[in-house]
Structures are given as C-alpha cells and as structure tokens.
C-alpha cells in the first residue's frame, strides 16, 4: 500500500522483468529501467574521456540499441545477479565495439587507427564515474520517494525534522538545526517528540533504500555487498 501510495506499484524486480514471459511487458519494463540509469551510462562515457557531444550521441545509441536488442543485457553476464553489473558490462562492451568499428573505418580511409585504451575504458575512472552516478540515482530516488511518502501520509513535519537533523548534515555537510528551533518552527510538543520523528523516518528511509537496491538484485543475499558498493560510489574515488 505504501509503495502504491508513491505511485510505483509497477516497480518490481528488474530480473523479474527480464524473465517475464509476456514480451510486451518485458519490453516496457526494460525500457523504463534502462532509461532510469542513463546518467550512469553517460557518466561512464564522460569518464572514459569522451567529449559531451560524443558521450551524448553514444548514450542515445546505447539506450536505443539495448531497447531494440534486449538480449544485450542477458548476453553480458547472465550469471551475475546485479543489474548494475550487467549494465556496466554492457556499456563497456558497447564502447569497445563502437571504437573497433571506428578504428576500422579510420584504417580504411588511411588514417592511423587508435588504440582502444586511449579513452581509458579499462581504467578505473569510468567505472568509478558509473558507480558514483548509479549511487546518486539510487539515493536521489529514495529521497524523492520518501519525501512523497511523508507528504502523502501526513508526515511533513517528520520529513522536515529528518531533513534538517539527518539528511542535510549527512549528505551536504550542513550543521544540524537545533531541536529547540525545530520544535518552535513546527509547533511540536518537545524535543523528545522531534527525536521520535527522526527515528520513524530513519526507519522508513532504510525501508525505501532496501526496496530500491533489491529491485536491482537477482539474489537478495547480495544486498549487503551491493549496499557497500553504493557507499563506496558515494565516497568517490578509491585513492
């Protein structure tokens, strides 16, 4: 019911979509899911050293090719049970294939062919960029879902307390707003009430985050390691 109240009752597991016997439903679902993570594809391409123009063109080409030839994702690595890994491998293979074709064209015209490694596809930078944008997309969606959920459920004060005591300090480094100020601003009974509100929303945040991540996993036991990857992405490069 909570998920329906946020208008996303069709957001069931990615792998359920891919395995769906109803081809039309599978196509619609794949369409939406690949489009959801296009910023990660774009970030990978930019992290590979491509210009904005090149990255924009290839992102469009990749999404269209994946949607038209949906087995691209299945072929990538059917044994790996994470959609993030499937998509990353797919875009990597797509870029390698694209560069090979471009190199062949240049060779035919007499221009020296370029090394595939020029764009740093095999370096960690584009992978980090992909994962960082993936993590950002996940967190952004969770924040949006949670905010709407709080609004729908009549918990706007809960959200405001959580935002100013937890979310902004954690994500953007703002100083936490003092409970006394929040109590006065929101006409609450006490700091204790505000504290309880934070606990409630933290629990809901965790639920939404688990839901969002689990949608991209074939095996639920991968959740812990996927969450660890998510936070590594948020922390930036590994140097």
């Amino acid at each position: 019911m909570i998920i329906e109240s946020c208008g996303s009752h069709t957001d069931w597991g990615v792998f359920d979509h891919l395995k769906d016997a109803d081809e039309q439903q599978a196509e619609l679902a794949l369409n939406r899911i690949v489009r959801r993570y296009w910023p990660s594809v774009y970030a990978f391409l930019r992290g590979s050293g491509l210009s904005v123009h090149e990255a924009a063109d290839l992102t469009q080409e990749f999404v269209c090719e994946v949607l038209l030839k949906k087995d691209l994702l299945i072929r990538a690595d059917p044994q790996r049970g994470r959609f993030r890994s499937l998509l990353l491998t797919s875009v990597r293979n797509f870029v390698i294939s694209h560069k090979r074709k471009a190199a062949k064209r240049r060779t035919r015209t007499g221009v020296e062919s370029e090394e595939l490694g020029r764009l740093g596809i095999d370096s960690q930078t584009p992978v980090d960029a992909f994962n960082a944008q993936w993590a950002t997309t996940i967190i952004r969606r969770v924040i949006d879902r949670l905010r709407k959920r709080c609004q729908f459920d009549g918990m706007t004060e809960h959200w405001e307390v959580f935002e100013h005591r937890v979310l902004r300090p954690l994500l953007v480094g703002d100083a936490p707003v003092e409970y006394a100020i929040l109590v006065k601003r929101l006409d609450l009974e006490s700091a204790a009430q505000a504290t309880n509100m934070v606990v409630t929303v933290k629990r809901l945040f965790a639920q939404e985050l688990r839901h969002e991540i689990r949608m991209t996993l074939d095996d639920p036991s991968d959740f812990a390691s996927e969450l660890a990857e998510l936070f590594r992405g948020l922390e930036g490069n590994r140097q």
Partner: protein, 138 residues
Amino acid sequence: MKPRPQQRILEALKWALDDSADPAMAAADWLARDIDPECGSVVGLLSNPQTSLETLERAKAAFKTMRIVGETVADRKLGGMLYASVIAAALVHHGARISRQSDGVVRRALQQIDSEEWYPEELRTLASLACSYLECHA
C-alpha cells in the same frame, strides 16, 4: 581545478534535497555542471550571458539526450524544454541560431515554455526574450 568526485556527488545530492527540485531537474543541473563546473545549475548556465556558444552547443547535445532517453514522459518533456532553452540562450546572448529547425517551430516551442508556470522563471523569461528576438529578426 576539477571538483573531486565526492564533491560532485554531494553537490548533486544537495539539489535532490531542494524542495523545489524534482529528480529530473536535479539530473539537468548535474548535466549542466558536467559541462561547466562553475555554473551551479542549468539556470545559471543558460541565463548567464557569458556562457559561450561552444558551451551552449555542448548543452544542446546533453539536453537532447535527456529529451530522448529520459525515464518518464515528464523527464523527456523537461529535456525538450531545456533543449529549447539552450536555443533561446544562443539567440538572446549571442544573436546566433544553433538549431536547424525553422523559426516557426522554435517560436512555438518557446511559447509553450512561457506557459509552464512550474518551469524556472529565469528560463521562461529567456524564452520570452528569444521569441521577441525572432519576431524582430524574421
């Protein structure tokens, strides 16, 4: 100096916390900062008369992508509006046409922007100014 990855992520998430920003606009701001790290937001990028034509061409490519591959109809609509806003910025700030579409098509797209009250006011103003430019230079 290029922002560290962590700083870029935090900036992207900061916009996600803004009550007035939906995820699609947050994605647009991220695209804008990828093109010009100093711009702050897509509004900052497009409303600044100092933004070069070369930068606007890059923005056009980026928002065209959003228009085509955005997840939802609303995302793709926003991409289309931002694409039109880039064209408007080139007209207003540089007197340059960076689209091969006819003035009539561009004008209709800009007039549509003007009627969308949720769209940033600075960009609606830009659209209106661009319409005036096209009328004066028809």
